[in-house]
């Protein structure tokens, strides 16, 4: 009998979700219907997974479902180019990723500019990190630098894609340490880790999420301001004398037509989730690093700073002119 109830409950819950998706009632208190959360990438990627982490907290706190949809294509460009054509009633939000939204429009006309995107919150990042397999002879960053100085170009890094946070970190670090290494772009972090575990490469420019998720991998250093709470033994690059704090930053944006009060309210809601101890623990256990840049002066200052850093790094990497 209990099982039957469970099935019934699931079925009813599903029916409600579906019905509410189509019926838009007159707005009472925002949000009074499910919010569409569009991820401009395919399912199963890191942007999807972090949205999935937020989903249950949103439901619990605000009583509405966060309905995750995917609009992949053009490395995110297809989704972002359509953002401002969507309805600005607060029921459409879209994930945004740095460095993508800064680099893509600088490379070519992709249908949007960085300033077209109204970011309402930047909530976390996956800090860059040098990852090696447990058996690697490199115990410290210095070991790797010493080897690279003797063997220019022979240290082969895998990383997730070209023009991504990993790639910029590699270019920046090579410059800071005065070494020359080879960077091989793979399609996403999963493929890049596979190459590391399969010993196709010497090391990986990955993220702090990598050792949190995969066995047999350790980090030499992380590009954070302070050490990551889950990896207290891994030094930051700053401690080692390299001013490198970078990673893949994530946040959400709304269509430009979204009214000011809803933008603020939404930012407040995300802020609440971002400060929930259970949420923070879940994110950090999975290797993420929290960030709180809500709508207004804070997110503007954050974007202005990143625009400068990222466009300079992209120039150094030869990705943009």
């Amino acid at each position: 009998m209990k099982t039957f109830h469970k099935i019934l409950f699931t079925a009813v819950a599903f029916a409600i979700v579906v019905t509410f998706g189509f019926i838009s009632t007159a707005s009472a208190e925002y949000p009074d219907k499910p919010v569409r959360y569009i991820i401009p990438f395919g399912p199963g990627g890191e942007s999807d997974i972090t949205a999935r982490f937020q989903e249950p907290f949103f439901k619990e706190k605000f009583g509405q479902n966060l309905v995750i949809e995917y609009k992949p294509g053009g490395g995110g460009a297809v989704g972002w180019a359509q953002l401002n054509t969507m309805k600005g009633d607060g029921y459409v939000i879209m994930g945004t990723n740095l460095p993508h939204i800064i680099i893509k429009p600088l490379q070519k006309d992709v249908g949007f500019t960085t300033d077209d995107i109204t970011n309402v919150y930047m909530f976390h990042y996956t800090p860059d990190a040098i990852c090696v397999i447990d058996a690697s002879p490199f115990k410290t960053v210095q070991d790797l630098i010493d080897f690279a100085k003797k063997n220019p170009g022979k240290v082969i890094f895998s990383g997730s894609g070209k023009g991504t946070a990993n790639h910029l970190a590699q270019v920046n670090f090579d410059g800071m340490a005065g070494i020359k290494t080879t960077y091989v772009a793979f399609k996403g972090t999963g493929a890049s880790v596979t190459a590391l575990l399969g010993k196709q490469v010497t090391a990986e420019w990955g993220y702090t999420t990598v050792p949190a998720k995969y066995d047999g991998i350790r980090m030499l250093a992380v590009a954070m301001e302070k050490r990551h709470p889950v990896f207290p033994d891994v030094p930051t690059f700053r401690e080692l004398g390299f001013d490198l704090v970078s990673g893949a930053y994530r946040g959400i944006a709304v269509p430009k037509s979204t009214p000011e009060d809803i933008r603020k309210k939404l930012a407040g809601m995300i802020d609440e989730i971002n400060h929930d101890p259970a949420f923070i623990k879940k994110m950090e256990d999975n290797g993420f690093a929290m960030l709180n840049a809500p709508y207004g002066a804070k997110v503007d200052a954050f974007m202005a700073k990143q625009k400068k850093i990222i466009s300079q790094a992209a120039k150094n990497a030869g990705i943009i002119k």
């Binding site: 099982t3 099935i7 699931t10 819950a13 599903f14 979700v17 569009i38 395919g42 399912p43 199963g44 990627g45 999807d48 997974i49 999935r52 989903e55 249950p56 479902n65 995750i68 949809e69 995917y70 609009k71 992949p72 294509g73 053009g74 490395g75 460009a77 297809v78 180019a81 490379q107 070519k108 006309d109 992709v110 249908g111 170009g153 022979k154 082969i156 894609g161 070209k162 023009g163 080879t182 960077y183 091989v184 772009a185 793979f186 399609k187 999963g190 493929a191 880790v193 596979t194 190459a195 575990l197 399969g198 010993k199 196709q200 490469v201 998720k213 995969y214 066995d215 879940k282 999975n286």
Partner: protein
Amino acid sequence: MHVFSFILAAMTPYHFSIALGGVVAGTVIGALPGLTATMAIAVLVPLTFSMSPTSALILMGAIYTGAIYGGAYSAILLKTPGTPSAIATTLDGYPMAKRGDGDLAVTLACISSVVGGLVGAAFLLALAPPLAKVALAFGPVEYFWLAIFGLTLISALSEGNLLKGLIGGCIGMLLTTIGVAEVSADIRFTFGSKTLIGGIEPVSALIGLYCIPVLIDLVATPARHLKVTSGNRGFRLREALSLSWRHKFNVLRSSVIGTIVGILPGAGGSIAGLVAYSEARRTSKHTDKFGTGEPEGVQASESANNATVGGGLIPTLVLGIPGTPPDAVILGALLVQGVRTGPNLFMGGESSIIYVFIAGLFLATLLMLPTGLMVGRYAYRFIITVPKAVLVPTVAFMTIIGTYAIRNNMSDVVIMIVLGAIGWILDRCGFKPSPIVLGLILSRIAEQGFVQGWTIGNARGSVFAEFFARPISAGIICFICVSLFYPIIARRWKLNKELQNDDK
């Protein structure tokens, strides 16, 4: 005793009902072109939050299995693979349906899928940790050669005219270059068009190239869509079973091929089906009948693609590396549930979760036999009895919805229709869709592998050694040579023999 405990844990009425529901839902979703297993699972992820990790896994596994099988219906009855995994099923499935054996083909596909699914799940159960190493043995260069090997299969798919097949393959490869480049992330060949920025999605190309020409022909010719034979022949289960028994080695070999291809993170069900198909064709006694409605072709493709389900889960659960795209979504759902993947899953600690899940996967695969036969029968009845005036608009509507659903993007629908029109013209000129789609899917893998292999080779000092001196690469190159030259050598042998006979 331990073995029974997890089987019992999987056999609760609740698990039984979600496995049943999952398989049926998956089969229907998979049958609709454009709605893929990945999307089906992604839509269901929020529902699984309220479930225990085991139940969530069983539900996702059941949908996945069902969807991969469901792709066979439209492949057989409409010549349109419902999922990319069913590409090879169209080659002999549709000709079978055309001559009135559609019911037999569907039943055969069902049995083969069940066997393939069971073999894949058995490997997952027994050998997952050691087999996961295969996923790591393949580097960029190996994927490059694997893709080239896949391209040689064009010779098997080009239905007579090899040159036209190769040209078709090149068209497919050229189409892939549109949009964001695989490795360098440059945006190329979009000619300033916003529609083309997203590139050409293989599934929308698949729907356009296969389905639109069928629809145009349906409207253009007065004949019935499929030949209808009178009388009720039921499922033709006995006939299908005896065929399966006769070709048991084909089914088993294809299942093993499917499992191994499934383990490789860079290759999915479409490649598994094609490789198994070409192997079946090569080793069969009547190679020349392939492509004209040979049951062995359907068996090979369908058993291989369902074996990728269990195979793909091997690296997913052992290494946290998704073997196939749907596995990436399953992995994400597991992370949210708080289950950490790794070899430990198979050794104790959380072991019960994984073994109950595998038992659930077996259950779902077995349930696919009765449900698959039932759903298949309705699908077949619908397609043969419904008048053309209803069939054509229904299918046309489905193709548009399905194409839009892939990436929630209208551009894909436009591209699909344009490619469909081009595909129809090309079809008239003798360029079949299969080589084009093969080029489209494989050249992505080839380009990635080539650029990465080249960069690594340069850093190591020798590009040549990187591409030719690695043992697995060398092995695949041998396969390529066999695949390329075997038909020529075989023909020469045959000719020689005939000449000798004439001499006598």
